[in-house]
Subunit: 334 residues, 2 copies
């Protein structure tokens, strides 16, 4: 099955490039509400499922024990930009559990926020693992280990107690078996499992509705999504799509992008979960797709839908700041 073109990239009036993809929208009872393309195909969700992966942090009692509020929980679900506020918060989360950045096993990279990168270099600094976009998630993992009394060394490896907790949460929330033959290694060294795209739509519908969850999980899910929606900067970073989408309708939209063009989202007021993947892995297209899908699902709120559609039509500027093109959702997304 060939997925349809969902996003076109215009230069002037001509389509220069095109992105295909698949979209699944489910309700919390497992009913498909809108599906485009092959939604049964296994997809690595990458960082788009960090909110589900953070359930053990809350459910284990670690988040309460360390006094984590919305910002810490948002950062535990984040692919942050390595801005000073992100780095400082990850450091303080680790400190609560008596750890520091040296416990992180996510690897190191320069801040993805360009201003933060340049400022770090200008100050004569170099990045460490706290700057890694996944350091909040990993700090949450480490806090969970310490609170639960699990030796944290090797916490990124399959078979480690922490990864068992994360996989159990993923399986239970998405309803999809996460088998060894579907496993690969994510950018931050933890396991990632390819399961049908639609499982993630169902998973985020459940995260939003808590349908089928026990009381403890229901509370944890609500708390995590609320934290992300309350503190979008700590889930993402300055000028980024997830912040713009969540700020467009505070408390009404949850979104989280992952590498290779994956995006998950939830609209609590409609009880819907969304998962999509751009076939070719382009982040620009995954971002435009999720904005267009949200605009369609929230079309009853015309002002909001217009704002979301504007985010789907991302302008392309050249090196002199002139607008030379734009991304454009195709009719399939309308």
């Amino acid at each position: 099955m060939t997925n349809p073109v969902l996003i076109e990239v215009l230069r002037g009036a001509i389509v220069e490039s095109a992105h295909r993809g698949s979209v699944a929208v489910f309700d919390g009872d497992g009913k498909p509400v809108w599906e485009i393309g092959d939604t049964a195909k296994p997809v690595f969700p990458r960082s788009a499922v960090k909110a589900i992966q953070a359930l053990p942090l809350v459910e284990s009692g670690a988040a309460d024990a360390y006094g984590f509020g919305n910002r810490e929980l948002a950062l535990a679900c984040a692919s942050h930009s390595g801005e000073p506020a992100h780095v400082d918060l990850a450091r303080s989360m680790l400190a609560k559990a008596g750890l520091d950045g040296s416990a992180l096993e996510c690897g190191t990279h320069w801040p993805s926020n360009h201003d933060a990168e340049i400022a770090l270099a200008r100050a004569g600094g170099s990045p460490n693992a706290l700057h890694n976009n996944c350091s909040g998630k990993h700090s949450g993992f480490l806090c969970t280990c310490v609170h639960a009394g699990i030796a944290h060394r090797g916490y990124v490896k399959p078979g480690h107690g922490l990864q068992d907790m994360v996989r159990d949460a993923m399986q239970s929330v998405t309803g999809a078996v996460h088998g060894e033959d579907q496993r690969a290694i994510d950018g931050c060294s933890i396991p990632t499992y390819a399961v049908p795209l639609r499982s993630f739509a169902l998973g985020f519908a459940r995260m939003a509705t808590t349908s089928g969850f026990g009381p403890e999980r229901a509370k944890a899910a609500k708390r995590l999504l609320s934290a992300c929606m309350a503190e979008p900067f700590f889930v993402s970073g300055s000028g980024r799509e997830d912040v713009a989408l969540m700020e467009a309708a505070p408390g009404r939209i949850f979104t989280k992008g992952g590498a290779e063009g994956v995006h998950c989202a939830a609209i609590p007021e409609l009880g819907l979960g969304i998962a999509l993947k751009c076939d070719d892995g382009a982040g620009r297209a995954g971002e435009a797709m999720v904005a267009a899908v949200l605009a369609k699902l929230l079309r009853a709120d015309e002002a909001l839908a217009a704002k979301l559609l504007e985010l789907a039509n991302t302008p392309i500027e050249n090196r002199n700041g002139a607008k030379v093109g734009a991304l454009r959702p195709t009719a399939t997304l309308k």
Copy 2:
């Protein structure tokens, strides 16, 4: 027409993303040698045709008047990485024509080479137009203007004498009409025209064979391709694909990538020109495609073909430097 998948992106043993594309290989007489997908579709060549756009620099006599050797000519055909050697050479080219960086109209961005970017920031510097990856091409444009006695102000605009010379060269070499309705603005502010992909394959076959060229153009074309093949670093930058491909077989392969997944190439010993585009605009896929196409066309040289195929199978590493996946050409490219 749906173009076939040419590059798969593996994570572990599972295909995570896939890139479709089209490929045209022509000889200098206009005979198609190998075509994949829709090669008649208009494509913006972007920076992949800089060697053709540099013909006026040589043909006008400017390159000789200013004493330009291989390095300067390579830089005039380059999308360089903004490393100090690139920036210094662009500055010295402009100085020969009595100009400096303030004459450049390409806009400014930080060096694409990460080490160069960090070094510039650490030194307290900021980028200027000389760091723009197109500053060599623009320096060539400016030198052409000054030598030809054309006022250089506005040299990036359609209708300026310099852009007329560039468009004439493009039309004559590719055989494709470059009409206003096919025009958009490139990243560096000059016009770019969408014409059938196969025209660029024919164009680079002619650049390599000089088939149908008059003596002056034949000499200029040979000189430009030779300069690029002799100094690949000045066409590109440290650690980049075009350098690796051209260094794999010194003097036998010319390649040049452009934005949005376009790649042009030539194999002088076979008299062939190559043009390809990744549908979705991914540079990683365009690079893998051109390596795979070169490997197939040069398969008679088994050692070289193996080296090129290795470049087509780009490994993907995570933030701890572990190999977690790779790009892989599909059977269509074999």
